[in-house]
Structure formats: C-alpha cells, structure tokens
C-alpha cells in the first residue's frame, strides 16, 4: 500500500516536471515529436530506476556508514554519469534497434536534473530500498507521461496560428502551465 502511494505520488501528484520543475530542459527540447518523446521517456525511466538502485546502495552502504555524506553530490553525479555511459555501451552491444531508438537521448540524460533530483530526494526522504526503486519507477513514468502529453499537444500546435512572439518556448511553457494546473487535480489521491 505504502509502495503504491509512493508510485502515484511520484508519477502524478508530485510530478517531477510539472510540480518540481525537474527535467525542464529535455521537456522543452525533446517534446516536439511524439515518437522521440516516447523514446526519451523510456530511456529516462530506465536510467532513473537504475539510479534509484545504485544511489541507494551507495548512500546507505558507503556514504552513511563511513560518515562521508558531504561527498553525496560529487559521488551521485559521477555515478549517474558513469551509469549512463555504461547503459549506452550495454544497449549498443545487446540490441541495435534499441540503441538506434534510445541512443542519441542517453548522453542528454546525464545533464537531466531529474535524475540527480531523484537520487537526492530518495536519500533525503530516507526511503527503504524497495521504496526507492518504486520512487524511481514512478518518477520515470510521470516524466514520460508529461513528455508524451506535451508532445501530443505540440504536434497539434504546429498547425495552429500562434502569434509570432509566442512561437517556440513561450507557448510551450504556457501549455506546461495549463498542464500543471490540470495535474493539480490529482492531489488528494494519496
């Protein structure tokens, strides 16, 4: 039950993009086509779940027992960077089609603040191992959902007559604002 609440909270109520503003850069950058939004969302969810596992182990098995929690930020970011590289290498070896679908998005993920945010939130909230994995999955699902909805809207927007100064980023942000309002309707589910 507690795990379900964490999942719903991370995916919908406290959506990483629309409530915490994490991962805005890819949100604005990659959300103009539905197909790339889906790939980006899947790649991010995958890395987020792995990050949740690895950062939890690092934090609770190394940093805390040896009183090194001041090294939290540098070690988390290094772990994420090497994780992304590793995932890229593995996918390239294992599945070429998957690599073609996700490959170009992987390097972008290193600088996606949603990943570091996830690792930091997880250690701040003192989640258990299972809770942290579910938190990672939920955050990834929420990120994908926001990205896909946004891409769907933007594909339609391409056909609309948007005033010139609003084209591009401004209209994207305004649509995101309306989406954030809509997502507030999920509050109270937990």
């Amino acid at each position: 039950m507690e795990l379900f609440v964490i999942f719903i909270s991370a995916a919908l109520v406290n959506n990483f993009v629309l409530a915490y503003f994490l991962g805005i850069c890819p949100f604005v950058g990659v959300s103009n086509k539905l197909s790339s939004a889906i790939s980006m969302g899947m790649a991010t969810t995958f890395v987020m779940t792995l990050t949740a596992i690895v950062s939890w182990l690092l934090y609770n098995l190394i940093l805390i027992p040896y009183n090194l929690d001041f090294l939290q930020i540098p070690s988390f970011i290094l772990v994420i960077a090497s994780l992304v590289q590793f995932v890229e290498m593995v996918i390239k070896k294992v599945s070429q089609p998957l690599y073609r679908a996700l490959g170009i998005f992987l390097p972008l993920i290193t600088t996606n603040c949603a990943i570091l945010g996830l690792a930091l939130f997880g250690s701040m909230r003192e989640y258990s191992f299972a809770e942290n994995i579910i938190f990672g999955l939920g955050a990834g699902a929420g990120f994908t959902l926001a990205l896909v909805i946004m891409a769907g809207i933007r594909e339609e927007l391409d056909l609309a007559d948007v005033p010139k100064p609003f084209r591009g980023a401004p209209i994207t942000l305004i649509v995101a604002g309306i989406l954030a309002l809509a997502f507030m309707g999920f509050a109270g589910m937990i």
Partner: protein, 188 residues
C-alpha cells in the same frame, strides 16, 4: 600511454583535492549544522510547551517525543513529533500534550507541501489556535461549516478540508501511540 597516465593523474589529483577541501569545509560546518538543528527543535518544543524549562528525549519508542519539565523539574507533559500523509504529501507536526495526554497545549506544523494559499492555511494561527486546550479523549473530531460545539472538536478550513482532516488524523494516531506507551508503562 603518456596520455592515459596524464588522464589518470589529473582525475586523481582533482578527486583528492576536492575530497580534502570538502572534508575541511564539512568539519567547519558540521558543528553549526548540528547546533542549528538542535536550536530549531528546542525552539519548537518550547513553543508548544511554553511552561517548559527543560526537556528529555524519549528513546527507543519508534517515533520522536520529548518529556517536558518545568523549573522545579516536575513533569508537566510531553512534546510529540509525528507525521502522516496530507493532501499532496507529508505533513510533519509537533504538539504539546498535558501529562495525562488528555489535552493539547499547542500545535505547530513543522513541514508540509500542501496547496499554497489553501492547504497551507493549516500552518496559520486561526487554525492552529483552535488546538490550544483541545481535549483529546476519546479522539479529536472535526466539523465543517459550523462552530465546534464540543471540547474535542475543531473547525476544518473551508477549501482545505482534506488538509485539516489530515492534521486531525495525524494527531489522533500520534496520541494513540503515546497512550499505548503509557499503558505499557514506558512513559515513566
């Protein structure tokens, strides 16, 4: 080969310097951070137990609670820190309890992520004032839209009923825990 050695040397050098620097800064900052945390807890304890002069943490009870003493070192009650789910996330609060656990002295919300302007009203005095001298037995109740008529009732905030209800539920759960501890004799 030289290139690889240089790469390793630079990375190791940066790593060692950064680690050393951080260890130094952490050594300097840590006492302040601990003192800040302690001062914060202390201030909130004495805000919900204004008569208290000293406090003592209750250990090994599974949650955070303090025994409060006045200037004659008599036990005048407890301060209970408890948390639970609100409308959008965790609500963490501290409340002062009389020594028989049947009355709330005062309440303060420590952390919450409720809707700004609506749910956040639970931190403001019109709402928290209602808990002063509130009776907790058999449990706290909330009413909506009408003035509370019983000594164990509070009025929920219009537009933030769920947040208000959450605060009442968290309090009831926490006080229930305290009662169980008391029944098992662990409070002495």
């Amino acid at each position: 080969m030289n290139k690889v050695i240089q790469m390793l040397m630079v990375l190791t050098g940066i790593g060692i310097i950064s680690g050393g620097l951080l260890a130094t800064v952490d050594g300097w900052a840590d006492p302040f951070i601990i003192a800040n945390k302690k001062a914060e807890t202390e201030a909130s304890i004495f805000r919900v137990q204004p008569e208290g002069k000293s406090y003592e943490a209750l250990n090994n009870i599974g949650f955070e609670a303090y025994k409060i003493k006045n200037e004659n070192s008599d036990n005048i009650g407890y301060a209970l820190v408890y948390e639970g789910n609100g409308f959008q996330g965790k609500i963490r609060l501290i409340c002062g309890l009389s020594s028989d656990l049947n009355k709330i002295i005062a309440l303060e919300i420590l952390e919450q992520v409720e809707t700004p302007g609506l749910g956040t009203k639970i931190t403001e005095s019109p709402f928290t004032e209602q808990f002063k001298q509130l009776e907790t037995s058999p449990s706290i109740n909330w009413v909506k839209g009408v003035e509370p008529s019983k000594p164990n009732e509070i009025q929920a905030i219009t537009g933030a009923t769920i947040s208000s209800k959450a605060v009442v539920n968290i309090l009831n759960q926490g006080i229930e825990q305290m009662r169980q501890l008391r029944a098992s004799g662990a409070l002495q």
